[in-house]
C-alpha cells in the first residue's frame, strides 16, 4: 500500500532526438486505480515500464511510497506486474508460478503456502494449482498472472493491457473481476490500455496520453463531459465525437450557415464538437443527409453529412432513417475547441433557449 508519484518524468531513448515520454506529472493516492489510455505509440506502455523499472527513466523522479525508485531494480521496487501475454513460466505449475517471486525473496514455506492458497481461493484457481499453464484457458492464465501479482502483496499493481488477448465476452467479465479485486485489496494500481471502454469502466481517474504527453487527467465522467482537447474528445467515447468546423460571428455560433446558439466567445473560426448521444433526429433542426446506418440493436448510429462535414447521431427510433433528416442539438452540450491548438474553449452561453432554425 502506498501512493505513487511521478514528477516531471520523461524518457528519451539513446539515439532518439525526440522524447518518447516527457513532462509527466501524476500524483496517485493510496489505493487509487489509475488507467493510462491512449492510441498505440503514445508512450503509455513505456511509462508503465518505467515505473516497473524495466525501462530507464532519463528525466524526473518516480516515487513509490516515500522512496525514489529511479535507479532501483524492478525486484526492489515492491511492485507486481501483469503482462499482456501473461508471461507465465511454461514449465512450472500454477502453484510454482505464483510462489516463484516469494521463493526468490526468501519467504518461509508456511507464508508461501498460505499466500498462494489465499490467492487461489480469491481467484478460484484451487482446482488448477497443479496444472501447467498450457493446460489452462486464456481466462485462467490471466487469473494466474493476477495471482502471481497478488501473492507478493506489493505496494502497487501494474497492468500492461492484460485483457487484450481475451475474447470480448471474457474481457468484460475479467474487467469487472479486476475492479472488484482491486477494491477488495485496496492496492494502488496503474493500468495501461488502448481500449477507451475498458479505461472508462475501470478507472478512478483516467490519464489520457498522446505522443508522450498528458492530454488530460480526470475522473472518467469529467473527461467524457469536458474533454480538454480535440484529441481527448475524439478518443474517449464511442462513437467518436464529431468534430466540425464552425464559426462564431455576431455572438452566435454557426455551422454551415445555420445558427446553432447564441454565444459570447470571441468571433472567429472554431472547432465544434458534438457527441452522437447529444443529438437526436427530430422534426426541426439541422438538415443532414444520411449516408449509412449502423444498427446496434438497442440503438443505431446514423452517419450523415451536413454540407461537406460528417456527423454521427444516435437514434433510438423504430422508423427507417434515410435521405434528408433534421437533427436537433442541445445547445448546452456543445464542445468548443481552438482550431489551431485543439484546446478546449469554455463556451460562454448567454441564453439557454433551444433554437428553432
Amino acid at each position: 500500500m502506498a501512493h505513487l508519484s511521478l514528477r516531471n518524468v520523461g524518457k528519451t531513448y539513446a539515439g532518439g532526438n525526440q522524447p518518447a515520454v516527457c513532462g509527466i506529472n501524476i500524483e496517485i493516492a493510496d489505493g487509487e486505480f489509475i488507467v493510462l489510455v491512449g492510441p498505440s505509440g503514445c508512450g503509455k506502455s513505456t511509462l508503465l515500464r518505467m515505473v516497473a523499472g524495466l525501462e530507464t527513466t532519463t528525466d524526473g523522479e518516480i516515487r513509490i511510497g516515500e522512496r525514489v525508485v529511479n535507479t532501483l531494480d524492478p525486484a526492489e521496487r515492491d511492485i507486481a506486474m501483469v503482462f499482456q501475454n501473461y508471461a507465465l513460466y511454461p514449465h512450472m505449475t500454477v502453484r510454482d508460478n505464483m510462489a516463484y517471486g516469494l521463493k526468490n525473496r526468501g519467504a518461509s514455506k508456511a507464508t508461501i503456502t498460505e499466500r498462494v492458497n489465499e490467492a487461489s481461493r480469491m481467484l478460484e484457481l484451487g482446482p488448477y494449482l497443479d496444472r501447467k499453464p498450457r493446460a489452462l484457458s486464456g481466462g485462467q492464465r490471466q487469473r494466474v498472472a493476477m495471482g502471481r501479482a497478488i501473492v507478493r502483496q506489493p505496494a502497487a499493481f501494474l497492468f500492461d493491457e492484460p485483457l487484450s488477448n481475451l475474447d470480448a465476452k471474457l474481457r468484460v467479465s475479467m474487467r469487472m473481476e479486476i475492479r472488484k479485486l482491486q477494491k477488495r485489496l485496496g492496492t494502488t494500481s496503474l493500468y495501461v490500455t488502448h481500449d477507451q471502454l475498458e479505461a472508462m469502466t475501470l478507472a478512478d481517474r483516467l490519464v489520457v496520453l498522446n505522443q508522450g504527453k498528458i492530454e488530460q487527467i480526470g475522473a472518467p465522467l469529467e473527461i467524457y463531459r469536458k474533454p480538454a482537447s480535440t484529441f481527448v474528445a475524439s478518443f474517449i467515447g464511442a462513437p467518436a465525437m464529431s468534430l466540425l468546423d464552425a464559426f462564431i460571428e455576431n455572438g452566435a455560433i454557426t455551422l454551415e450557415g445555420h445558427v446553432l446558439a447564441q454565444i459570447g466567445n470571441m468571433a472567429g473560426p472554431v472547432t465544434l464538437g458534438l457527441r452522437a448521444e447529444d443529438l437526436r433526429i427530430a422534426k426541426e433542426g439541422l438538415p443532414m443527409m444520411v449516408e449509412h446506418v449502423e444498427e446496434l440493436g438497442a440503438q443505431r448510429i446514423v452517419h450523415g453529412t451536413i454540407g461537406a462535414q460528417t456527423l454521427a447521431v444516435i437514434d433510438t427510433g423504430e422508423a427507417a432513417v434515410q435521405g434528408a433528416v433534421r437533427v436537433a442539438i442541445d445547445p448546452d452540450r456543445l464542445h468548443l475547441f481552438d482550431t489551431t491548438t485543439g484546446q478546449r474553449i469554455e463556451s460562454k452561453r448567454q441564453t439557454a433557449r433551444e433554437l428553432a432554425l
Binding site: 508471461a87 513460466y89 511454461p90 514449465h91 517471486g101 526468490n104
Partner: protein
C-alpha cells in the same frame, strides 16, 4: 483423412528401407562367421555359428602392441568422448548464447559473428595449432586433452542463441520483477525451457564425439586411450605375411560401435518429440 494405399509408393519405401538396412544386416551376419569363411566365401546374409565367440573375444581380448587394450576399454573411451563432448558442448554453448542474448556488452554482435564464422573452419584446419597447444600444456594422452579443445561449438551457440531469442522478453521481465537475478533466471527458467533444444544438440554432439577419429589419433599415443573407431581400423591393418585380417572381429566392433549412438538417438528422439509437442509458449 485415410489415404488409399498406393502400391508403388510402398514399393519405393520398401526398396529404400532395404537399401539402408542391408549393410547393417550384412555386417551383423558376417560378424557371426569365422574370418576364414568370410575371406573365402565373401560376405554373408545368413547367421553363422561363431557369434558368441567373436563378440566375447572382441570385448575382452587384450590386443594392441602393449596387449592390454580390450574392446570394453575402447567402448568406455568412446563413451567418455561422446558424453564429454555432448555435455561439455551443451554447457559451454548455452552459457555463451546466454551471454550473447541477454547481456548488453560491447561488440556482442561482432563476437557472435566471429563464433559463427568458425563454423566454416573444419577441425582439420586448426588441428596442428591445437595439437601444439595441448602438447605445451602437457595434456597429450589425457581425457582433458581429448575433449576440451573441441568443446567450443559454434553450432551449439548458434542454435541456443536463436532459441533464446525466440523466448518472449516478458519472460525475462516477469522473472526480474519476481526477483530472479541473472543466475536464477538461467537455472530456473532458461534451462528447463531449453530441454528440447538440449536433447537435439545432445544427439548431434554425442555422435560427433563418438565418431571422432583424427583427433584422438593425434592426441593419444597411449593405447589405453584407444577409441572404438581406432580399434576397428587397427584390426584391419594387420596384413602381415599370409595372415588373414579378422574381418569378423572388425564387423563385430562396427556393430558394437553402432549401438550407443542408436540408443542415444532413440532415447533423446523421444524426449525431443515429447518436448516439441508439449512446449507451448
Amino acid at each position: 483423412m485415410m489415404q488409399r494405399i498406393k502400391p508403388f509408393d510402398h514399393l519405393i519405401l520398401i526398396i529404400g528401407a532395404l537399401f539402408l538396412i542391408a549393410p547393417v544386416v550384412m555386417a551383423f551376419m558376417s560378424s557371426t562367421h569365422s574370418a576364414i569363411d568370410i575371406h573365402s566365401n565373401g560376405l554373408y546374409f545368413t547367421p553363422g555359428s561363431d557369434a558368441v565367440g567373436t563378440y566375447g573375444k572382441v570385448l575382452t581380448h587384450r590386443g594392441g602392441f602393449t596387449g592390454d587394450v580390450t574392446g570394453m576399454r575402447m567402448l568406455m573411451n568412446s563413451m567418455i568422448m561422446g558424453l564429454g563432448f555432448a555435455v561439455g558442448k551443451i554447457v559451454l554453448s548455452m552459457m555463451a548464447a546466454y551471454a550473447l542474448v541477454y547481456f548488453r556488452f560491447r561488440f556482442a554482435t561482432l563476437l557472435f559473428w566471429m563464433i559463427f564464422t568458425t563454423l566454416l573452419l573444419p577441425l582439420e584446419v586448426r588441428i596442428m595449432p591445437s595439437y601444439q597447444v595441448m602438447s605445451t600444456l602437457g595434456l597429450l594422452n589425457s581425457y582433458t586433452g581429448l575433449i576440451v579443445p573441441l568443446l567450443a561449438s559454434a553450432t551449439g551457440t548458434f542454435f541456443f542463441r536463436q532459441f533464446f531469442r525466440s523466448i518472449p522478453d516478458e519472460m525475462l521481465e516477469a522473472a526480474r520483477i519476481d526477483g530472479a537475478g541473472p543466475y536464477k533466471f538461467f537455472i530456473d527458467i532458461l534451462v528447463p525451457l531449453s530441454r528440447t533444444m538440449m536433447a537435439a544438440i545432445f544427439i548431434i554432439m554425442f555422435i560427433y564425439g563418438w565418431n571422432q577419429y583424427l583427433w584422438p589419433l593425434l592426441m593419444t599415443t597411449d593405447e589405453s586411450f584407444y577409441t572404438l573407431m581406432r580399434g576397428i581400423k587397427s584390426i584391419l591393418q594387420v596384413w602381415i605375411g599370409s595372415q588373414i585380417p579378422d574381418y569378423n572381429e572388425a564387423f563385430a566392433l562396427a556393430v558394437l560401435a553402432m549401438i550407443p549412438p542408436v540408443a542415444v538417438v532413440v532415447i533423446f528422439q523421444r524426449m525431443f518429440i515429447k518436448g516439441l509437442t508439449e512446449s507451448d509458449k
